[in-house]
């Protein structure tokens, strides 16, 4: 099977069925149905679709939070099905997910510096001092000022918290960042600011993005590929060569 050079992630014929239906779901219980797509390094794929179309499920499969029932996910030319435990640990560094409500995923008792260095601590990166220095770097790279490292989430505004969540996701230098509607809870002007930041970060760190959004308007500029899902199936795939 030939892998195109520069292809970071591929999903091949991914299908997933959930066994528990909910009251409102007339989409049935098949969350994903034969989805195939690929993301190149340093590119952005926008995943759109209405509620229940399977966008979040696909993101979770890619982030290894769920396993697809059928099909495979390939990262960097290797199938995830063949990964060992050690391999998965390494993989978690490469793919990071920024959740929908950034504020809710921040530990209210920790300072910003502690929050950002947590992934480093978990992966046993460096020592205390090195981690602290790196956390300061990260906070600066997302545009937070020098007061931020010692502040706690409740002292930061919504936009600052979103930046903090972003900084944490970048701590382990991932190659793919999944933004699961991470911006939709923010005000328009803040969304615009963060999107500009994401564009900068992509250029600096060669990041690939998988952006899940309801609405393409703001993310259009930074998108190279759009995939639209409906009831788990791809109904539209468009490329925008730049």
């Amino acid at each position: 099977m030939t892998i195109r050079s520069g292809t970071l992630l591929e999903a091949r014929n991914v299908s997933k069925t959930f066994t528990r239906g909910r009251w409102y779901s007339d989409c049935g219980v098949r969350a994903l149905d034969n989805v195939t797509l690929s993301i190149q390094s340093s590119s952005t794929l926008a995943l759109v679709g209405s509620s229940g179309s399977g966008k979040s499920t696909l993101a979770r499969c890619i982030a290894q939070l769920e396993k697809p029932d059928l099909g495979e996910i390939w990262f960097d030319g290797r199938s995830l099905a063949n990964f060992t435990q050690a391999g998965f640990r390494h993989l978690r560094k490469e793919i990071q997910i920024v959740p929908q409500d950034p504020s809710a995923s921040l530990n209210p008792r920790w300072t910003a510096a502690e929050i950002v260095s947590e992934p480093l601590r978990v992966q046993r990166w460096g020592n205390e001092k090195k981690r602290y220095v790196r956390s300061l770097e990260l906070l600066e790279s997302v545009g937070l000022d020098n007061r931020a490292p010692h502040q706690r989430p409740y002292q930061l505004s919504g936009g600052q918290r979103a930046r903090l969540a972003l900084a944490r996701a970048l701590a382990l230098e991932p190659r793919l960042l999944i933004l699961d509607e991470s911006l939709s809870s923010l005000d328009l002007s803040l969304q615009a600011q963060i999107i500009n930041l994401l564009i900068d970060l992509q250029a600096t760190y060669e990041l690939a993005y998988l952006v899940i959004a309801h609405d393409m308007t703001l993310v259009a500029s930074m998108t190279d590929q759009v995939v639209e899902l409906c009831k788990g199936r791809i109904v539209r795939q468009e490329f925008f060569p730049c």
């Binding site: 909910r22 009251w23 409102y24 209405s50 509620s51 229940g52 505004s157 919504g158 936009g159 600052q160 005000d187 328009l188 002007s189 803040l190 969304q191 615009a192 600011q193 999107i195 500009n196 564009i199 309801h214 609405d215 308007t217 703001l218 259009a220 500029s221 930074m222 998108t223 190279d224 759009v226 925008f240 060569p241 730049c242």
Partner: protein, 322 residues
């Protein structure tokens, strides 16, 4: 019908300090009219909505006047207010999931609203509740469901059913379309305009919602809807949506609308016209215009005095740069 004059609201902070959240709001709504309030988080729009129905905590200081059909709502006793809430003025809250009681079936929650204002039998209450649930596009069998079993869109419709159930004269909707995808948002907004003749006060932070609203209102009621733009507790601009779109006067309005209409080509990596800095923090409001620090057209006078709101034809603007 509703006249708000010089509304000033401040929260009591720790240590006897007062934080001003609304700093002199003036507007009015005519019967059947639709007024949109555009603003981002922290501008005080939710506080505005809550203050109309006197739902703010007791420790809040509210000054000014809110006249509804001749009565000043701010000085009414609780008993009178209760008669107005839900029946003459209804409110739809932002997060439907948390605005509905988790241990009560949704049908009963609609019944409760009607029951609070009408002395009807249980059967008649149930019938009426089912009627309104049907009007908002829900199958009446949903009446026995609990909130956690329903989707966001359905919960929002339940709230709308509650708001419509006593046929109010004014409906205040605080971000009625939040958390929904664009198609559902448009549906909900159109439905609200369609299903009632009441005046609407719609609070939102997305200009796209205002477009949908304005179209529906023009089509169904033949009226132009007005928009108030709020920033840091004040109205900085007011006018019809069309006027704002084509010739916005205030730098904040211009910047905000520009954000929502990015013109770049897909894939071009063109940066969006973002407004630099963060929203004005009420704890550190300096002298002068609240938007001054982020304004691209600021002048010396902007940092010294606060601009007053002036009328320009049918519009209002609070800015020195004119």
């Amino acid at each position: 019908m509703l006249h708000v004059e010089n509304l000033r609201v401040s929260y009591a902070g720790g240590g006897g300090t007062q934080t001003a959240v609304l700093r002199g709001i003036d507007f009015h709504i005519a019967p059947g009219e639709v007024l949109g309030v555009l603003g981002e988080s922290g501008c005080g729009k939710t506080t505005l909505a809550l203050s109309i129905l006197s739902l703010l905590p007791a420790s809040t200081s509210v000054k000014g006047s809110i006249r509804f059909l001749g009565q000043n709502l701010l000085v009414l006793p609780e008993r009178e207010l209760r008669r107005i809430r839900g029946e003459r003025i209804a409110m739809i809250f932002q997060e439907s999931g948390s605005a509905l009681n988790p241990v009560m079936p949704v049908g009963r929650q609609v019944e409760e609203v009607i029951h609070a204002h009408r002395d009807w039998s249980l059967d008649r209450l149930r019938e009426e509740a089912h009627n309104f649930l049907g009007q908002v596009g829900l199958d009446p069998s949903i009446a026995q469901a609990y909130p956690h079993q329903l989707s966001g869109g359905q919960l929002q419709r339940v709230q709308i059913a509650q708001a419509l159930s006593c046929r109010p004269t004014l409906i205040i909707a605080d971000e009625p379309a939040s958390g929904l995808d664009p198609a559902a948002q448009a549906e909900i907004l159109e439905m609200v305009v369609q299903r009632t003749h009441a005046a609407l006060l719609v609070i939102t932070h997305q200009p796209s919602n205002l477009h949908v609203l304005s179209r529906s209102v023009a089509m169904l009621r033949g009226l132009t809807s007005r928009v108030l733009v709020m920033y840091a507790g004040q109205v900085v601009e007011a006018g019809s949506l069309e006027q704002l779109e084509t010739s916005a006067l205030h730098p904040y309005t211009q910047a905000l609308l520009a954000c929502s209409r990015p013109s770049g080509q897909p894939g071009a990596r063109q940066k969006l016209p973002a407004i630099p800095g963060y929203s004005a923090s009420f704890f550190r409001l300096a002298a002068g215009c609240a938007f001054e620090a982020r304004c691209g057209r600021r002048q010396a006078v902007c940092g010294e005095r606060e601009p007053d709101c002036v009328d320009v034809g049918e519009r209002q603007i609070r800015c020195f740069v004119l």
